[in-house]
Amino acid sequence: MADTFSGLINYWVAIALMMIGFYIVIAQGNLVKKIVGLNIFQVAVFVFYISMGKVKGGTAPILDDSIEVYSNPLPHVLILTAIVVGVATTALALALIVRINRAYGTIEESEINEQDNVLDASEGKP
């Protein structure tokens, strides 16, 4: 039991972080905050990945004659790519937010939806 706990606690905390991020994304109405939530979510996933690559007693996967055990380099490579994808998404989302703020005058989801509903409703009528 204690073994399970100490062996999995990293993953659990990472999952808790993911869920905090996920909650911010789906429950909070502010667009910037949604993006921050998305970042929290993604970084937590990265922590999850890096955790699985660690080998006890290993060190960073940079070859050196004096070292026997290395941690797994593959998750590192994957997460490098994922981080880049994450920042790309963030940049695009922020650009969209700037435009949305200009078009709607707000970055709160509820106010945007109100304006959208008005537009949707006016569409059918001549």
Partner: protein, 186 residues
């Protein structure tokens, strides 16, 4: 011990980001959140990832978010108490994930399948096949070089996308048609 306390800091930071209404503070905290994550990567031997996360998460993202706040609003307006629907969804998702961890190899287990199949070849042979000491670099640029090409394309997409969405064109002299240069896009 370092990892646990840093994870604790990260959780605390995330929770306070959830509560704070001042977006400016939220953005600053998200920078520090990334910085903590970067130290965790470093402690878990992922030095390259730590390097990138610090540069990107704490550096570029923060600057961009500040830039966005400057152009929008820096206070969150409505503040819902607790949204029960999303909360339930999140708890269920989290529950499923935790359930999935139960059969996982434990943290740091050297016998986990993940370390034996593909990765062991990288560690044993990359020195001979690629000849670069940093295994992450050899996997990144050679074995899985194609992923990195995709990654470059993603960065390219994002930059062009930002230009498309908010890039300002050069002020046109009226009615002169499409002569514009020096602008962002055309």
């Amino acid at each position: 011990m370092i990892i646990i306390s840093l994870l604790f800091f990260m959780t605390a930071t995330a929770i306070s980001m959830l509560w704070l209404r001042d977006l400016f503070a939220v953005v600053m905290l998200s920078g520090i959140y990334s910085l903590f994550a970067a130290v965790i990567y470093m402690v878990m031997d992922a030095v390259d990832v730590a390097f990138t996360e610090a540069a990107v998460g704490a550096g570029i993202s923060t600057v961009l978010m500040l830039g966005t706040l400057a152009l929008t609003k820096s206070k969150e307006k409505v503040h819902k108490k607790i949204a029960y629907g999303p909360l339930a969804l999140v708890l269920i998702t989290g529950g499923i994930l935790v359930y999935g961890t139960l059969d996982m190899p434990h943290y740091g287990d050297a016998n986990a399948p993940i370390h034996s199949h593909v990765a062991s070849r990288y560690i044993e042979k990359s020195g001979l096949e690629v000849g670069v000491p940093n295994i992450v670099t050899s996997v990144l640029a050679s074995y899985r070089g194609y992923d990195t090409l995709g990654e470059t394309a993603v960065v390219f997409t994002a930059a062009i996308g930002v230009l498309v969405i908010i890039g300002r064109r050069k002020k046109k002299r009226k009615k002169t048609g499409a002569v514009n240069d020096g602008g962002d896009i055309a």
